[in-house]
Point group: C2
Chain length 107, copies 2
DNA sequence: AAATATACCTCATCTGTCAAGGTATATATT
DNA sequence: AATATATACCTTGACAGATGAGGTATATTT
């Protein structure tokens, strides 16, 4: 991983929500998707991922249910809620604004 | 201010170095410049600013000297060092990469 | 005399990240 | 049969940057 945690900080929840917009998924898979999308340039640390899940659930942005796997490890699935979709739109807007601001400041 | 601290987090040092690339300056002025450049969309909190100065000096990225004001409040000036210029290039590169990665992830 | 602007600073607290540890199942290798 | 690897979940404590709240001092405006 090349990108530092302080730069990505604050985007974790948006990244997770973005992934859940595509389809319900579970922690391990979400992280694999992130790696694939970024050509292995970025991955979430597990502890970061799970603490973000807790915050998102607490905030009502996601809901969770256990998968019905009969073989292999159990999977806890996450689904984005309506509040989560709204929150995502806010995060996206913030990102667009932040990009502009930082671009102006780093000349 | 609209941008949240967690999104700007990690950019503080780069923003200060960028300002010092233009000319030597002091805390109060640097913050005023940031506000002006961003049309008041962003300003550093004083405590954030000064803790960043400490880190930058510790890391050898800036050096400091007192202004010779005969009237008004004293000013502590900061100048970017050669190491600071190098660090800035690194920060800028990181920002370009981070932008790409986050843009890929927030669809 | 009081308020505002300039200009510096410290300290305690908060929050997201993450290293390090753990549990359990299934498959591939030795 | 034992070991390693991959999948899949989780918790805890520590760290570091950001910040609210407080402080000091000078000069100007009301």
């Amino acid at each position: 991983m090349s990108i530092t945690s302080d730069i990505i900080r604050g985007h974790t929840e948006a990244i997770i929500l973005s992934s859940l917009l595509e389809q319900d998924s579970y922690g391990y898979q979400i992280n694999k998707d992130i790696m694939k999308k970024t050509n292995n340039a970025y991955e979430l640390k597990e502890a970061t991922l799970y603490s973000a899940f807790r915050r998102l659930e607490q905030a009502g942005c996601i809901r969770t249910y256990w998968g019905d796997e009969t073989v292999g490890a159990r999977r806890r699935y996450y689904a984005i809620t309506e509040d989560g979709r709204k929150a995502y739109q806010g995060y996206k807007q913030e990102w667009q604004e932040a990009k502009e601001i930082i671009d102006k400041l780093l000349k």
